[in-house]
Amino acid sequence: MADTAVVEKKAKEPLFSKKNRQLMVDPLDDQNPITVQVLGICSALAITTQAMNAVVMTISVMFVLMAGNVIVSLMRNGIPDRIRIIVQLVVVASLVILVDQVLKAFMYDVSKQLSVFVGLIITNCIIMGRLEAFALGNKPWPSLLDGFGNAVGYGAILIIVGVFREILGSGKLFGIALLGDAAEKTGLYGMGYMNNNLVILPPMALIFVGIIIWIQRARNKSLIEAH
């Protein structure tokens, strides 16, 4: 390993340099994984009927994405090119199994609600995408920030959709009745309001995501593709 000795000493980059901050902020808007890159849509449709599910899914994805990014980044110089996708898959799959086991042990009700979707984190394109596109070529700290930023960008959309769907669909937020009691006809229900069952169905989430994309592109013209 003689060739490593000639590396010149660079000034140490501050932990939250402009470049690093950009890694966390970009995925929230300009590079949002759901609304701009249109990744991870399946889980956004499936689990957003209740805001609480969206929060737990966000935390789970955040853990898998950050840990996966760091692990792959640490191993990036040792991973043989030919099996790099398999290595990434193994890392993600084992982290997902870990999340699933922990949820089953300590948040049993949530784990029953999320059931197959936790397993499906493996197929969430955001995760493999970040591992392949970022962690494989960057140091652990920027990878951690990148994972955090993307998970927050993903989670923000999930939680916004979840909040709207739960309020409109069940009249609740985090399980607390907001609009009165549907059975007793109190509050808004007394005035003739009814829960919109359509909102509970998965296709409606697509419409919510569409509306968010519309609003975002109306505000930020640079996101509109030129034809």
């Binding site: 193994v90 890392v91 870990l98 086991q101 042990a105």
Partner: protein, 239 residues
């Protein structure tokens, strides 16, 4: 070292599999007790739900010992195998059913648990059961009133039935139909789940689920098969 040589690639893969495998098995083993506890508490909640006692997970243990007075295990001849405390709760009917279906366990070796509950001075008999739906296993608890014939409450669950169709068996709109119906007529199991008109005027039937016929028939088969086994025991304790 050449990172792209076959030897290096194989070595890397082997080391990675060993490391990941041992980490995951460590996690699985250490979390097992917590998961088991959750499953047990859910079972207690379901048993209590069949006698219309709704509990939270944290209260399940206390309420279970408050309401469940006696546990009995019988065999497929209706003879009592065990009456010890906790004996019936420890039996995993799902596992036994699976083994029986696969031919790994003889029918005479199956155990049939029964929970005798006391609520507001009345005795209720909770019968656990397991069957097959359209896509996978279904199971449930049905409670009978003191006459050992009239259904007091029912609680069903499933693993993989279609949401909106077969999965409706766990919704109260289906479960509530069972209350007040009768299992036996003239000493035979007469309970059916039928298409239309089963409802209020038929004491031995309930309406099936629209679009969930196979799951409904699965519930029917499960009830008929299970209550056939309990019939001799019920007749014995009635006389």
């Amino acid at each position: 070292m050449d990172k792209n040589s076959n030897g290096y690639t194989f070595g890397f893969a082997i080391v990675m599999v060993i490391v990941v495998g041992s980490l995951l098995s460590l996690a699985a083993v250490s979390l097992k007790p917590f998961q088991q506890e959750n499953i047990q508490k859910e079972k207690k909640q379901n048993i209590l739900a069949s006698i219309n006692v709704v509990t939270s997970r944290s209260e399940a243990d206390a309420l279970f010992s408050e309401y469940v007075k006696k546990q009995v295990v019988i065999n497929n001849q209706g003879e009592v195998v065990s009456e010890e405390d906790g004996s019936a709760f420890g039996i995993d009917v799902k596992k036994e059913y699976k083994e029986w279906k696969a031919g790994a366990r003889e029918e005479s070796k199956l155990n049939f648990p029964l929970f005798v509950c006391n609520k507001d001075g009345e005795d209720y008999y909770v019968v656990p059961m397991v069957g097959t739906g359209l896509w996978g296993p279904i199971w449930g608890f049905v409670s009978l009133k003191g006459d050992l014939n009239t259904i007091f409450g029912a609680n069903f669950d499933h693993k993989t039935e279609t949401p909106g169709l077969g999965a409706e068996i766990k919704e109260s709109i289906f479960e509530e139909q069972f209350s007040g119906d009768q299992i036996y007529a003239n000493g035979e199991v007469a309970f059916v789940i039928m298409k239309g008109g089963g409802g209020s005027d038929n004491p031995n039937g309930v309406d099936g689920i629209t679009g969930g016929t196979i799951t409904s028939k699965g519930v029917e088969e499960m009830l008929q098969r299970t209550f056939e086994v309990y019939k001799p025991y019920f007749e014995k304790i009635k006389s």
